[in-house]
């Protein structure tokens, strides 16, 4: 394995890449500082409907996943019971996707038990959606190709654009000066904006948009209520308004009531913890990569790419596992010994 890596060809490629970095560094090609925008930027307006870059990317992720699903299952025989054994032999992509789905299904089965058929499509979709969206953000072009716009706030630094390429040269602050409006954007609200240009990327991973992460969090919490009611009936809600303690006395009753209120708060807080955990991790990763590229162009951000691949996977797995655990917890009776 190692022997195969150290071939003359690979060495030449490595040298060429390093030389490229060195030369580009010597030429002074700098990378502009990343634009840190918590909100996803709108990029398209179709009539009254605005489409943000994260929404667009979510659709791309969906298309990727659906194409993956389509190509992975394309060779499967229609009628499994009549298929020959030879037709059941998996290969290539199908084999890989089977492995992924089986691993997820086993995990869901370990936690969900007999609820697995209901939990599995949801948690598996969470995992795949979040994972692909996290990793998509690491592809070249994500966060770097986009519209050139003037900074939205005067305090933000803009950069000089050469043609369609944004350079690392900071534009001089120019109040009152009418910047060139080659992009045809923002001619009327010039005064509120800074000089120069920033890139508004076309693609932004959905997991760096709070709308996406909070939507998932909301959905998980709402579904866990649904599964709770499905499993335990209306008695499920008793854990949010527990007055059974009053039978033992006023003190026990008040404590019970207080605990059940805490339970309710923690349930609501889960939406936020779900949403902000994923958002924070992935968004911070994107910013980290941008800042590293800005500070030491080209080569320094490489190790962080590896890190972000790892973080992207871990966050997807964590989101899925937590969703599974909350679903599973909602379906079992809420004993007094259960704590969070």
């Amino acid at each position: 394995m190692l022997k195969k890596l150290f071939t003359v060809r690979n060495l030449v490629i490595l040298l060429l890449v390093v030389a490229l970095f060195v030369i580009s560094g010597l030429l002074g090609l700098k990378v502009p500082s990343p634009v840190v925008s918590l909100a996803a930027e709108p990029i398209l307006h179709i009539g009254p409907v605005t489409i943000t870059n994260s929404l667009l990317t979510a659709w791309i992720v969906m298309i990727v996943l659906i194409l993956l699903a389509f190509f992975a299952t394309r060779r499967m025989p229609k009628d499994l019971s009549k298929a020959t054994n030879q037709e059941l032999v998996p290969n290539g992509l199908q084999n890989f996707m089977e492995m992924v789905v089986e691993a997820l299904h086993n995990m869901a089965e370990d936690i969900g038990g007999h609820w697995t058929p209901r939990f599995f499509p949801i948690v598996a979709t969470i995992f795949l959606f979040v994972l692909v969206s996290n990793w998509m953000g690491l592809l070249p072009g994500f966060g770097s190709i986009g519209l050139l716009e003037h900074p939205h706030a005067a305090s933000q630094a803009g950069y000089v654009a050469k043609g369609i390429i944004l350079t690392g040269v900071e534009a001089a602050p120019a109040e009152g000066e009418h910047a060139a409006t080659t992009e045809g954007e923002a001619a009327t609200t010039e005064h509120a904006e800074g000089a120069g240009y920033i890139v508004v990327p076309f693609f932004r991973p959905p997991s760096t948009d709070l709308n996406f992460t909070i939507a998932l969090g909301l959905m998980v919490v709402a579904l866990s209520q649904y599964f709770g009611v499905k499993a335990l009936g209306p008695g499920y809600f008793r854990k949010f308004f527990d007055i059974s303690g009053f039978k033992k006395g006023a003190f026990d009753g008040i404590v019970g009531l207080f605990v059940s209120i805490l339970e309710l708060i923690s349930e609501i807080a889960r939406i936020l913890s779900f949403g902000f955990r994923l958002f924070g991790n992935v968004f911070a990763g994107e910013v980290l990569l941008g800042v590293m590229a800005f500070l030491i162009p080209y080569i320094a951000s490489l190790p962080f790419y590896g890190l972000e691949v790892f973080v992207g996977f871990i966050q997807a797995a964590v989101f899925m596992m937590l969703a599974l655990v909350f679903f599973a917890m909602a379906t079992v009776g809420h004993g007094s010994e259960e704590h969070h």
Partner: protein, 165 residues
């Protein structure tokens, strides 16, 4: 909320995205693959059971075969033993017969020999008697009383026969 970019419209559209994706993936990916896995698991279990059954029947057949071989060998041994026994018997019979015949022949031969011998002896005796009579006649010039002479010779010969072994 605005600074964070949270917007009800986008939130709902992301929810719709997720629901759509979950539904599509369920139909396109999870169901087919899980069905496939189940089907394959069933088939593998079935073929494993088949293999077990085949192995069992093979073992049974082997056992049966071994038993038959052993039986055949035992029978062959028996037959050989029987044949050998019969052969021995026949041999013994033949031997006894031969012995008997040989004895018979020997006895007959001896009898004949004895007869011959007696016959010869008698012949020789009579010749010797005749010769001695002739000799005495020649010596004495005159014959003895033939009756006495014969008595003499016979007595002599009898004496001779006694001394001979």
């Amino acid at each position: 909320m605005d600074k964070l970019g949270i917007n009800l419209g986008f939130l709902i559209s992301q929810l719709v995205n997720f629901t759509l994706l979950a539904a599509l993936l369920t139909v396109l990916l999870y169901k087919p693959i899980l069905n496939m896995l189940n089907q394959r698991r069933e088939r593998i279990a079935k073929s494993m059971a088949d293999v077990d059954a085949a192995r069992e029947s093979a073992a049974k057949a082997q056992l049966e075969y071994d038993r038959k071989i052993a039986e055949a060998q035992r029978k062959a041994q028996e037959i050989i033993a029987q044949a050998a026994q019969a052969g021995d018997k026949v041999g013994v019979e033949i031997k006894a017969e031969a012995q008997r015949e040989a004895d018979l022949i020997r006895q007959k031969a001896r009898l004949e020999g004895e007869q011959e011998k007696a016959h010869l002896l008698a012949d020789v005796q009579s010749q010797i008697a005749g010769l001695s009579m002739a000799a005495t006649e020649r010596v004495l010039g005159q014959g003895l009383d033939p009756k006495m002479q014969r008595q003499l010779i016979d007595g002599f010969l009898a004496e001779l026969g006694k001394t001979q072994p």
